[in-house]
Amino acid sequence: MTPQDLRDIQGLILSGYGKKPAARYAIFQIVDPDAARSWLGRVLASIQYGSFRGTRRREAPFLDDLCFNVAFTHRGFRELGLTETALSGFSLPFQEGMCEANRARRLGDDGQSAPANWRWGRPEQPVHGLLAVFAGEGDAEPQDWVRIQDFIRGELCRAHGTSVITVLDTVASNLTRRKEHFGFRDGIANPRIAGLPRQATDDLIAAGEVLLGQANEYGKEPLSPEVPAKDDPHGILPVVEGRSERHDFGKNGSYLVFRQLSQDVQAFWNYIEEMRHTVPDAPPGRVGREWLAARFVGRWLNGTPLSLFPNAPGPAIEDQLDSFDYGPNQDSFGERCPIGAHIRRTNPRDTALPVPHDPELSGDPKDESVRKERLQLTNRHRLLRRGRAYGPPVHEDYDIDALRLHPSVEERGLHFLCFNASLSRQFEFVQSNWVQNPTFAGLSSDPDPLLGANRELPFRAADFTIQGCPVRRVRNLPRVVETRGGAYFFMPSRRALEFLSRK
């Protein structure tokens, strides 16, 4: 990836702005396309791009007080007057949108989570754009949120051709804790894009798994929306290699999945408490609650993986939380981290799919080449997560007894954001084949215990199996996460934004 690419890619794709504790997401509609394009032209230079990858942490733009990024839905691009050629060059899931009926069913958005019940992103109230704004440094100050709110109010207004549908708040990200609402350390496993400066991980995926106009894990550039050269008379967009009559609108842009997921913390811990008694191996009391919940998640509350520490939490050493695979820990068959655990099904690493329990069929887990092949297969379904929690924690220290016992009527959850270059092969695949699928990796009727319980399709299932000798099983998982809103966005490159603004 060239320095020019870095200047072209919007910053949120390359960084979750973890050092900026305050964030808000404004979901908006375009009401006056001309005014919206003018506004876009004005803010273009102030948007955060990935050039920070080439600068030192003590230099601009790290010192910027507030940073923001913009993305649009397919409807949004249409409103902005993007040419039909480009509109039809986006992938079908993006064109149809997250709330399309068949898609919703496949993603598990049924019952309370059905798009008709969403707060935003419902079919009859189409979303056009997203403005994501981040501010602050160190511990969040109330002033940071005020500045973000003022910024959104000033930028998204009728005079600028836009109208806010909703502003989604987040809770301050806290680097020392980074807990999600059920009380688990979160945001640990995230692949990095190969070819970027300053990498400190070997969990790399090809740039084209995230960005259009770059080679993906198959060595091919994903299909990218293009515009005829005549529609780009100023030559703002890059020329498509070998086809000078076309300019690339999608290059260095990325599909952004946004889902507002509410979490029922009390229901989760009450269920754990109830079920703990039914599992003969679970230790008594509070330790047993953490033990069972850790099987569901695949990590202990402090983030240490079960595959490394099956019996009790290990020391939470920051750069060791994610440096593991299952095979080398004698965990190919789920005897440490259950096969159906949340982290194992959202990133199976070197788990043999779809039949881990049959080494004759799937290859010997001790064979290094077999293991590498599995990792390669998994890497074709990775997501770059950028989400943040919303709503106040039930308990400020995330004490698991308090989480269970404190009644709370306030809504809380996760604004799940992730980037990928192929919605169908990455996000939708992970959601339907790994998260929702009750037969994932040879299981019988086990959906993801956090995200997938009791969905209609492919069939209603609510079990969780703990592999071992003997195998244990809990039944009747409750639905503890519901979708409250969502949309597919595309976060264009700087050049694509400039092109849109000049239309």
Binding site: P354, F429, S432, S445, E456
Partner: protein, 444 residues
């Protein structure tokens, strides 16, 4: 005792008249919506246990009027049979089906040429039998196991899981013996375990040693099963193959996508509406051959795949490297001008097609390389499906909606069907120490 096996049949009947075939569509819709209770996709017409149907489908292949090929109605059934001869098995199955559900079948086939509205059951069966098409290559993922056995073995797995969920911690051997005893006792009282006798040897299964041998053969299996005729023919065609791979047009995803019409989009939605109603899906795919001069090459390729399936893959439970297919077959239709592919697979289309690309590109290239717009192959077997986005877009473009799809076990994947059999065998024949560990691991 007669050995139960699975057989497959395909009927292709010409639809009378011109599109949009509203009457036929309504009749298909009526069959599709008359479902057994309890979810999944189980139209009542195919659900009578006596029929022994694992999967069935009815598909309207609608073609523009005045075009080269006529519209047709496809009926496919994958069923249990004890008849040894395939032809007899298929005819008896059709007869039984027509006797069991004459009205629904008449309601759709009366829209086809040569089917009178008031045919008797035996006449209907005759008419259907006459319109059968033989597969040029076919695969079965769980040979030797009929519906009753598949259901029994799944229930056995659940009985074991429930037993172990509460069993006190003990040595593996003790646990195993306790579980075996528990199942033995349950057999007397649980009707869903009826017929299970652990003191007898298990019914036929793909022999474990044969399976191991097949699995360890790897790519050698392909070489071993290459007949000298095939090799000689391919060599004789090398010049043509090289010319074709240079000059053949491949699917232009961008151009096609940019030209999508509203009708195309409606078709995509129609396909999506029929998908993911159960764990399994049906893929119906029809694509014209590139030119008649490829027919011989295609027939050789398919004969090779068919031989590989029969001699190799059927025993393993995976086709190529894909362990998620229950039944699959290729058929030449419309005077050998189009290739029809019908398969029943687990999980989503995206995962199935991903398996094609990631695990089985070579075999698929052989199957489809002679068809229109297939992604460019190198010497028939290389590249092709490895061009991931193009291959998937090509597949979707030639896919048709499966209006009626029946699955007998909407919650059971092929991997589980096969795994359950090994679990059951482990109960009949107490495993040794090393095998015991592997047996426990199968209880996922």
């Amino acid at each position: 005792m007669a050995v139960v096996r699975q057989e497959t049949l395909t009927v292709v009947a010409r639809v009378a008249g011109d599109p949009p075939f509203n009457g036929l569509r309504a009749a298909l819709q009526a069959i599709a919506t008359d479902q057994l209770p309890g979810g999944g996709t189980r139209p009542r017409v195919f659900a009578d246990p006596a029929l022994g149907i694992h999967f069935a489908r009815l598909v309207l292949l609608e073609e523009p009027s005045g075009g080269k090929v006529a519209s047709s109605l496809i009926f496919e059934s994958n069923f249990d049979t004890t008849f040894e001869a395939a032809e007899q098995a298929r005819f008896e199955h059709l007869k039984l089906l027509c006797e069991t559900s004459p009205a629904p079948l008449s309601s759709v086939f009366q829209h086809c040429s040569g089917f009178l509205p008031d045919l008797r059951a035996d006449q209907l069966a005759e008419a259907l039998a006459e319109r059968q098409v033989q597969a040029s290559a076919a695969y079965q993922g769980h040979i030797h196991r009929d519906l009753a056995r598949i259901r029994l073995e799944q229930h056995l797995r659940l009985v074991l899981l429930d037993f172990f969920a509460q069993a006190p911690k003990a040595a593996p051997r003790e646990l195993y013996l306790a579980a075996r005893e528990h199942v033995r006792l349950q057999c007397g009282s649980d009707p869903r375990l009826a017929g299970l006798d652990l003191n007898q040897p298990p019914p036929p299964v793909p022999d474990a040693a044969v399976r191991s041998q097949r699995l360890s053969a790897g790519v050698w299996a392909w070489i071993q099963n290459l007949s000298s005729d095939t090799v000689a023919y391919v060599i004789s065609q090398l010049c043509n193959i090289r010319r074709w791979q240079k000059t053949d047009a491949e699917y232009d995803q961008r151009a096609r996508q940019e030209a999508w019409t509203e009708a195309d989009r409606r078709t995509f939605v129609e396909i999506a509406e029929t998908e993911d109603r159960a764990l399994q899906n049906a893929l119906t795919h029809v694509v014209p051959l590139k030119a008649a001069d490829r027919l011989a090459l295609l027939m050789f390729s398919h004969a090779y795949i068919d031989a590989m399936a029969r001699k190799h893959f059927n025993d393993i439970g995976q086709l190529g490297g894909i362990p998620t297919i229950h039944f699959a077959k290729w058929l030449l239709v419309d005077d050998d001008t189009r290739l029809l592919f019908l398969s029943n697979y687990d999980s989503s289309w995206e995962s199935y097609l991903g398996d094609f690309v990631d695990r089985a590109a070579v075999g698929l290239n052989l199957a489809w390389t002679c068809t229109t717009e297939y992604p460019k192959t190198l010497f028939l077997a290389l590249r092709g499906a490895s061009d991931e986005e193009r291959f998937k877009a090509w597949s979707r473009a030639y896919q048709r909606p499966t209006q009626v799809f029946y699955t007998a076990y909407p919650e059971l994947g092929i991997a589980a069907v096969n795994n359950n059999t090994w679990i059951r065998c482990g109960l009949h024949r107490p495993p040794g120490a090393a095998e015991l560990r592997a047996w426990f691991r199968r209880l996922t």
